[in-house]
Amino acid sequence: MLNPAESAALPGPEWLVERRRAAAERLANLPVPTVEEEVWRYSRIGEVDFESRPATTVAGPAPADIALADTTPAAVVKVANGFVVDIAVADDAVFSLRIAGDDDAAALDRFDNHDVVTAINDAAAPTPLILDVPRSKTVEGPILIVHENSAVGATVASRLVGSIGEDAEVTIIEHRTSTAGDQLVIPMVEIDVAQAARVTYLDVQRLHTDTWQLGQLSASVGAQATVTMSQVGLGGGYARMRADCRLVGRGATGNLAAMYFGDEDQTLDFRTFQDHLAPDTTSDLLFKGAVGGHARSVYSGLIRVAPEGAGTNAFQTNHNIKLSEHAQVESVPNLEIENDDVRCSHASTVGPIDADQRFYLESRGVPPTEAERLVVSGFFDEVLHGFPYGSVVDALVRGDITTKLDRRFT
């Protein structure tokens, strides 16, 4: 599936080289998944061309600077074709941010990620990034990680491993683009959130529409800790992201949110897993998106409450607007509950632009196309401004949204 010779050419400490070799070996024997498997249902896994996309072995030019509206980042990391090429952190930073070195072998083993996607990442990620925030430290301002990929016909893997100490607080914003279309990107994020820590993670995905993505976000949340995992999905030909939120400590909270907008021939594929493994845990999920043109969106999510999950509160909501008759929406919420003392709900809607809202605007003299545009634009506004750093994210993606709205509403 991935040529072991390529991953052998990647840099790093001995343990990492060996880890890549083992992963490549594992991959050689792993069958490519099929849509018959529930977790790959509705996906385009059968169309992914792994063979002709070797892992990138050289970094590209450093990404351009990204300005965050009214916000000063605590650190800026530049990643080119999966290679971390620059880390800018103030000298007095309360945290450590580094490329995985000799002592970081254990960090990559913290999560039990063993599917094809994570195996490719294991074999192909050139410079895993390690973030440690010590206990009781609050990181002021977000850590900004800017990815820009230019490698043509390549597999580009990136990895972030975060360890957030007790009662610490941090926000991480990843901004991902690709200038060359033909590319398979395998982003992976693993964050371990210790007791009472607060972590916000935001993924802003603006890949080229010919780029394909198979991604994995994982968080493990300790007692009384809170993680918020938000995603904006705008780019990619087939862009899949799986977000697993494991609530492992009593009273842990996981908030998952996404805003997506697909058009033309895009497929945006979101999988979520709210895993309640401890008592009195809370998870809240809100995914909202729109698809136009011939685009497709997939939302498939599972709430699981383990026998230990007494007192669980778990919510899951997915709302979709279909902007054209050729667009397709799959929305599959699932519950698997093994404890009686829980409060769970799931809701999913798929529909056209709200006729009443349209009528209201038209009754004030707004022409139909403009009214639809306002309603859809407002729908996105509302979701984005509910995000942490909502206006920052809005400023980053407003141009993309406008371009897509212009294509649909002219």
Binding site: E362, R364, G365, P368, A371, F379, H385
Partner: protein, 267 residues
């Protein structure tokens, strides 16, 4: 001089013919009240005139200065000078008043840059808190605030004819007085290049009419204007109710199996 002429208007909602031939003429500067019991077709009349989806016109005409409103799209009706203040204003998440009214201004060939200032000035005039101007339309507004918001939009859009559907519901006495005085003033003076406002008030109770005195009162029941009179008719209705114009419910609801299914139910 603007004139809204409704003649023989018939309309169906969900298979039921709710309007069965309505005739009303409203001219600039006049205040007409349409009163009637629940289910008489009052709100249907307002929705049909504005072109709300789901309402099917089956006969008759509605013309604004000779222009066939029923042949126009909703936004074109607004552009032609018709305004509807809704009984239940609709929430539009993420869309602000300014966004909407600027789009409306552009569509009408007006200057969008003036909208913001007009809105602020109008808000002050009717006592609508300026901080609500940036909020999403009707989201998190109380009933009274929603009605002020409708009135505010009317002030900025400056229509020739305004239909006010149950405008009083949700408003407290002070709000009702402010808004009534405001509307009253618009019916008494020319506004820019517009003649004085013509108003069609749709209401179940005469509460609003104590503040906004109508020139003409129509009673709409069973899909038709049953009688028309002066302001005194509203007072009379307050005392006597609508019993005179509603069919005896028991008789109406028990269908006669031998009856002609095509007979006019009002015959």
């Amino acid at each position: 001089m603007t004139e809204l002429v409704i003649e023989g208007l018939r309309a169906r909602v969900g298979g039921t013919e709710v309007l069965q031939g309505v005739d009303i003429t409203v001219r600039s500067g006049e205040v007409h009240a349409v009163m009637g019991p629940n289910g008489s077709g009052k709100s249907t009349l307002s929705h049909v005139l504005m072109g709300r989806p789901g309402y099917e016109v089956t006969g008759g005409t509605a013309r604004l200065d000779g222009v066939d409103l029923l042949g126009l799209e909703t936004w074109e009706r607004a552009k032609a000078g018709l305004f509807l203040a809704m009984q239940y204003p609709i929430e539009v998440p993420g869309v602000s008043l300014v966004d909407m009214l600027e789009s409306s201004a552009v569509a009408a060939g007006r200057d969008r840059s003036a909208v913001s200032a007009e809105l602020a000035a109008e808000a002050d005039r009717i006592g609508f808190d300026r901080r609500f101007l940036d909020r999403a339309l009707n989201v998190d507004l109380s009933g009274g605030e929603q009605k002020r918001n409708e009135t505010l939009q009317m002030g900025v859009l400056n229509p020739a004819i305004a239909i006010l559907d149950e405008l009083d519901s949700g408003l407290d006495v002070d709000g009702l007085r402010t808004i009534s005085e405001h509307i009253e003033a618009a019916t008494n003076a020319t506004r820019g290049d517009r003649d004085p406002l013509g108003v069609l008030v749709i209401t179940h109770y005469s509460r609003l009419l104590e503040q906004l005195r109508p020139d003409v009162v129509h009673v709409l029941a069973q899909g038709r204007i049953q009688t028309t009179g002066g302001p005194e008719l509203a007072d009379e209705l307050e005392r006597t109710g609508y019993a005179e114009w509603t069919a005896a419910p028991a008789a109406a609801s028990a269908p006669d199996p031998m009856a002609d299914p095509f007979a006019d139910p009002l015959a």
